[in-house]
Amino acid sequence: MPELPELNPVIHGKLRLALLSLLIGVEEAEFTWLRLKTGSTDGNLGAQLLKLEEAGYVAVEKKFVQRKPQSLYRMTEAGRQAFIEYVQALKQLLGSAIGGQE
């Protein structure tokens, strides 16, 4: 029986998974856009983005646009790879769960 894969705990968190799923479809996104799409609070969103940043999955660029601070987030290559691996592991686990019931 093949060994079942482990799910990456950094990605498995609901909000972090939602953030990576959003970021994989765009080149870069502002903090406000991510907040709007996830419906999260500023504090929670900032904390989860920091975890993803520390893991090397997202990169942030902070700048001022018309004197207002702007944070632009983009997925790194390591983040893209980890996300793909997570989805593959998830599908494999789901396949085995469905197979195990039959």
């Binding site: 498995h12 609901k14 998974l17 939602a18 799923s21 959003l22 970021l23 994989i24 479809g25 765009v26 080149e27 870069e28 996104a29 502002e30 406000t32 856009w33 709007l36 799409k37 996830t38 018309q66 989805v87 998830l90 599908k91 686990l93 789901l94 769960a97 469905i98 195990g100 019931q101």
Partner: protein, 205 residues
């Protein structure tokens, strides 16, 4: 029971991924108004240059439309509060920006050098414009895999042929008809579609 709960959680995660990817691709931006704006600008330039024979009618109208479009985009972005970009968006933007710059350079250069008088050689003037519009529409439709926009490109290519072989009157009618169909009608259709998509939460491209 535990296995059932785990399976539910995994399915929940998979649904979350699908929903968020779709949400990330969903665009609230609108482009239909740009087709209408430029359609109106072309009609205004044609009317102005034909009625007054003022040699700066086209450059002034085109620069005016360009400034107006930039102002509207800037205002929309400022009110929006968020920004996303991807390769497709950049490719579409590059196609139309390149077309606009090419049109501006060639038509102004030909006009100011007196090597193409739009009243003496309306066929050439319209053929050049139709070629540029056909190229931009075709490139955009191929990027977006959108047959309707490719049909617009085909209309412009047909206009190029009419402009090369037809009389001045036939060329003018073909050019104005193409302008109305591919700029005004297509733009209004796009605006309606975008408004519906915003309401329903659906997405295009």
């Amino acid at each position: 029971m535990r296995v059932g709960n785990e399976e539910l959680e995994l399915k929940d995660r998979l649904n979350l991924i699908e929903t968020m990817i779709a949400e990330g691709r969903r665009t609230t931006e609108s482009y239909g108004w740009t087709f209408v704006l430029w359609g109106v600008a072309y009609f205004a330039a044609i009317a102005w240059s034909n009625l007054s024979h003022y040699y700066l009618a086209w450059p002034i109208t085109m620069v005016g439309a360009c400034v107006l479009m930039t102002l509207i985009i800037w205002r929309k972005r400022r009110n929006c509060g968020y920004r996303t970009s991807n390769t497709t968006k950049r490719a579409i933007w590059a196609t139309w920006a390149a077309m606009g710059i090419s049109a501006f350079v060639i038509l102004d250069a030909l006009g100011f050098s007196y090597r193409m008088d739009q009243h003496a050689y309306p066929h050439v003037f319209m053929a050049v414009m139709a070629t540029l519009l056909a190229t931009a529409n075709a490139a955009s439709s191929i990027i977006l895999k959108w047959k309707l926009q490719f049909a617009c490109a085909a209309v412009w290519w047909a206009t190029v042929v009419v402009c090369c072989f037809g009389t001045a009157r036939q060329s003018s009618i073909a050019f104005l008809a193409a302008m109305f169909l591919c700029q005004i009608v297509f733009g209004v259709y796009l605006m309606i579609r975008e408004a519906r998509a915003r309401r329903e939460g659906a997405h295009h491209a």
